[in-house]
Symmetry: C3
Subunit: 572 residues, 3 copies
Amino acid sequence: MEQTELQVEIPSVLKQTSCQNIKDFDYVDYGNGNNPNPLENAISDKESYGESIAGSKITKLELQEVVIISLPASPSGLHIGQTKLVLHSEKCENTDQNDTKNPYPQLAKQKKFHSQPILVRENGDRKVVHSEAIRDHRFDPFKTWSGRLERQISNLRGKPTQEPDIEAGASQREEIEEAPGVDRYFDALEGPELDTLRATEVSVLPEDEKWPFLLRFPVNAFGICLGVSSQAILWKTLNTSPAMSFLHISPMPNLILWWAALALILFVSFVYLLKIVFYFEAIKREYHHPVRVNFFFAPWIACMFMALAVPPSIAVNLRPFIWYILMTPIFILELKIYGQWMSGGQRRLSKVANPSNHLSIVGNFVGALLGANMGLKEGPIFFFAVGLAHYIVLFVTLYQRLPTNAALPKELHPVFFLFVAAPSVACMAWAKIQGDFDYAARIPYFIALFLYMSLAVRVNFFTGIRFSLAWWAYTFPMTGASIATIKYTMAVTNVVTRSLSVCLSAISTFTVSTLLVYTIVHAFVLRDLFPNDISIAITRKKPKFSKMLSHFRSSSADSKDFDSSISKNSEI
Amino acid sequence: MEQTELQVEIPSVLKQTSCQNIKDFDYVDYGNGNNPNPLENAISDKESYGESIAGSKITKLELQEVVIISLPASPSGLHIGQTKLVLHSEKCENTDQNDTKNPYPQLAKQKKFHSQPILVRENGDRKVVHSEAIRDHRFDPFKTWSGRLERQISNLRGKPTQEPDIEAGASQREEIEEAPGVDRYFDALEGPELDTLRATEVSVLPEDEKWPFLLRFPVNAFGICLGVSSQAILWKTLNTSPAMSFLHISPMPNLILWWAALALILFVSFVYLLKIVFYFEAIKREYHHPVRVNFFFAPWIACMFMALAVPPSIAVNLRPFIWYILMTPIFILELKIYGQWMSGGQRRLSKVANPSNHLSIVGNFVGALLGANMGLKEGPIFFFAVGLAHYIVLFVTLYQRLPTNAALPKELHPVFFLFVAAPSVACMAWAKIQGDFDYAARIPYFIALFLYMSLAVRVNFFTGIRFSLAWWAYTFPMTGASIATIKYTMAVTNVVTRSLSVCLSAISTFTVSTLLVYTIVHAFVLRDLFPNDISIAITRKKPKFSKMLSHFRSSSADSKDFDSSISKNSEI
Amino acid sequence: MEQTELQVEIPSVLKQTSCQNIKDFDYVDYGNGNNPNPLENAISDKESYGESIAGSKITKLELQEVVIISLPASPSGLHIGQTKLVLHSEKCENTDQNDTKNPYPQLAKQKKFHSQPILVRENGDRKVVHSEAIRDHRFDPFKTWSGRLERQISNLRGKPTQEPDIEAGASQREEIEEAPGVDRYFDALEGPELDTLRATEVSVLPEDEKWPFLLRFPVNAFGICLGVSSQAILWKTLNTSPAMSFLHISPMPNLILWWAALALILFVSFVYLLKIVFYFEAIKREYHHPVRVNFFFAPWIACMFMALAVPPSIAVNLRPFIWYILMTPIFILELKIYGQWMSGGQRRLSKVANPSNHLSIVGNFVGALLGANMGLKEGPIFFFAVGLAHYIVLFVTLYQRLPTNAALPKELHPVFFLFVAAPSVACMAWAKIQGDFDYAARIPYFIALFLYMSLAVRVNFFTGIRFSLAWWAYTFPMTGASIATIKYTMAVTNVVTRSLSVCLSAISTFTVSTLLVYTIVHAFVLRDLFPNDISIAITRKKPKFSKMLSHFRSSSADSKDFDSSISKNSEI
């Protein structure tokens, strides 16, 4: 209804393209699900590309968002597309004809899949043969060198650069280069992991097509490494612990998991390194994301897990220098992040506190455990103390659920299992430092156990929650609790503790296996393991509606819905 | 003034009854205090009953509250009463004549005392002989079987059920069956124990007469058991502790107190069990009450106190299975309640935190102490750890006094003595677990001592605060501090510690004795030990005034006060 | 612009004086810096004094503040000054002539320096010879006996008291006598130390001239004692610690610093005692100031530092009774202040929490350390326990940075170094109590170390922050961390710990030396070490603009800016 009424006011070109757009939307979605081979995207079509750009522009307009920001990268393509639309679309039905005129319909449907870093791009306009024109500039602002380096190169080659294009990119770049403030993340995103765009917000990257792979590869992916490497520790402990010898676990699972985890860490690190190289702006935005930033601890924790899980057949004693190397980035990150909590401003703890902060705490205890395993003394106690102080702060803050903690999900969520991580690792760390699973070690252990039970009885966790890569990070606390239970069983060996050990180990292995199946299904069957990482694509400032608003207000008396939606937005 | 102005608009029937009502109020109060034998209530009088109902209806109207909800149970009675009033009251003075016309004035005065579960009820109308009509349906929604079972029974007997009556009850039941949300409790109630109805709220049960005894019997009553049984422990400790042997305390006080506490626990449990059986809805509402819910820990803590106080002449060593039995309900309650704190929603800790939450923490330490006394090891540490973690959270939260903690009283209040409970029990528990009153035990002990002193110097506690049964629960922390001091004196025996022990024991015994006297006075002299438990009678939703409001607005220009009170209410 | 527009409406007399005022302001500042000898102020000049009063009045008007409150002390002087201004100022340039006409220009420049308690005052009007008229009544409300005692004395002498003058003083006294509520401090002041008046507020004392010295002498001055005496401890530790013997520190620095600190403490105490005697109202207002109140712990902590730093050549073992004497005021203050945190009202912790609260915590640990040094046992553990409990509460609260903590500076600030104080003293206290620098001592030590590093990496601390006496209080945590590091080095002696000890000691000594230089420069060169202590001069209630507002509204159509500034103020 609203749409129809709006059409009266908007220019006739837009009117027709808004019809066009409906179809466009459809096949974009269709294309996403139906496009297993990224290489096919190399072939593209002039008409469908122009069409899609015009369509995407109108999509923006319908969302009542900033047109300027999402200017199509290639204005020539846009022009042709628009002209074409004006020519052959007098009615909405024309768009279907348009579609049928496309000589390669199946390819047109797949045209949106940008596969990076293979850097195969669509050719927006066949007549424009310059390399500059072929490039899809929409992702430029996130690229490390896109604007500067490549332009310099093309200048060296003596080719005239397309000025309007660059300018559009520049304004967009300006919008993006400075990462948004924390408030913007809270304002623009929602969900327990702050990964869903609010209805009133607009993405700086096209929402209707798949982005380059590297842009969609989040730091959360290191969560998989955490999950697998912690399993490797679990099976090592099951294998070597005298209390669990009755299970007769072979050293093989540990060995296999360790190598698998190693391969995984190398792969994820390599891909993420590519992202750092090619899309540094995206990294910056992940780093400023109040939930995502905690995952920057994950690679180092995963490496420490690897050091803890190292199969006895490979190495028995690790050299302490490894510990110093691994603790350095963690220490620096902590100085940065804990300092932000305390020193206030936008990143004050009462604002950003969310369960994923536990990831930034647990590194201390893992480090203490690893250091104590290596025979160090003072370093482990140092990190244990730092972890303890900040764990108390975080534990109290999260338990209180201050009304200012916007990020905290209302409903329970797998992320809450991170509560279990810190105390279960802390008890092992203390037991190792102290050389005995004493009362001081049992207190964190029992806290972990209670939290585990408290979460376990809330079984409606996994219902209605969209699968996400971040879930992997939420499995390692369960594994940690299992390992701690085995350690505790070594101190207090009886039927109950043994059963508990077996039970928790089984649950944790089952969870990881289930998640592995899910991940494989999403990766290779559904092919949506890495959806567009909308978290990093929010605008730096709240979208401005003033101009659009004044236009609509003067021309239309039926824009009440529109107005109210805008005023609602500006209230937030 | 307002009343007079309102009378212009309301029908003349109501006008007269509102005069009537003033007198009615008076003798209701009089009747409450003057009516020791519930059996006398069996005799009642048609006229005075109808009168009282009509009166109660107008009371509601004057309070600007929902008339529909508090529909009188027997409409026929109401009708007759009203008719009668119209007949013989042209002026307010008529009501006095009306009263003198009553052939049994002394009985009329006693007519309001509903004694449940003996289920003797007033006969609203002599002409209506059906058993259904005799029942007072106003309390039905809180009854466990009232609507369903009894109707079925009467149907079996072939008696026609009075349809309008049942329907009214059904709508009321609908209103009540689902317990109100936590927000409603905070909105509708006030005071440090959230036990006073706000001016703008309406009770679902009649406010102007005494409810059935069981409905007025709150879970707080277990507080008396806590107070008495903790005294039994104190006197046992005074008797058996070598450090206090210079006092030459006989084992008799312990024995007497223990048996008294046992009798009390059995009695309170029996009555509360009856309440569970007959008024399960009321129990549900107590359970959802943010302050009251913590008292559900009280019965189990009292039982543990009994186990700790068991006189040496009765038993020396208790069997551990008792501990497991007692800890199970505490553990389940904790899983439920701590989970609610963390998992957010309406019961997030930053919202519900109030000193009575200490009751839900102290159970852990009492359990740890009892378990350690029985020679258990891991179980006590488990509960000690759980208690410690949650005590830190609660201690910080309460000390901060977040602005969102609506329930926290502005002024200090006896409830604050619960602060002392957890650390004083914790130090004993740790001393028992560790086998020595070491530094780790002294830290909680000294914290308890400091908090005690910090509260004690604020002497204007007990001024201007209405006596309440809940006060009993606030005595056991003082007793606990005394016992802890004696334990500490055993570790550090000198004149100062001995004096402190004697002093604190004297204060605690004095306080309990004073409270006992108060309780006896209120129970047997003033007969208001169990006032209407208004906390459980709040409406599930904010009362709607729209209809009444529109009526008053259209008819009256002088309803400003009324309007402002409503708008004030809707702002809250 | 605004000023010019206002001049149209205000009387012509004021118009001219507002020009006058600009010059007046200049030489007030000049006079402040240029006036080393307070005795010179005894000589004053009728004309320039009247002038300055008229000028000061207009200053107030320009600040849109209450003229009534800051009524000039001598109305006759005002009258003459005004008359004179009307006579010889037709244009702004006249004021220069006015200045040259002054026969004693250099004295006129110095006329603003009021030196209390020497009680030499300016003679407002030569014709008024009564002693009562000579007195400057503006500071009366803060004086202990001013109004009452002196008036009685003058009455005894038979001299007629000047009624209007006394009345003005009485209304002002009424305004001041009851100290403002905490909310007023937060509303009226800003800055991390709440020592700057907000633009919309008015001071009850004249802002444009120097107040009596005692009124400007804040309790913060004890911070210097903290800084110097803690240095004495550091050098004692460097001298006596076997781990630092390689430095060959002589006992002299300790001895010198100790005597210097002793002299300083005696001097500051004496001056502050005078302030207590002569300006008790000012003390009350300092005590109610949410930041300043914590400095009331400083004298006692400084004394304990002295006891800890006592050179071995003076005394080896101190008598425990000193400890009891010193702990008594600390204990009483704690009962008062911690009680306020918990018991709510305006001083609830979630409202007043700010880093200077650490001063009220650290006393516990210093007390514990001193007591343990003296061989006491239970007392130190008591204070250690109290400190621990409240430190956890404060640490969590400050780390969370609740949005209600209005006092907490947005940017980091030297005050944050107080975070380091408590854990670094706590570790020493525990090590002394336990007799060993064990794990339990290392945990607070490492927490202190981490916090130190976390603050140290934020180097832009000292940029753009105005020097303040309070900074001294922020040096002792650094010294404390150095001493703790030396103690830790005694437990873990190696190159790293020794280097750390030397490094931290050097930093702390360097900081104290720098601050000493700053202080000396401010004290003797800039002569602004003790600026007007505006924190204690806020009005008890929000300034009322209604009268002034109605005047301006009726007369001026251009007062929009004025109105908006007022409405902005009333919104706060």
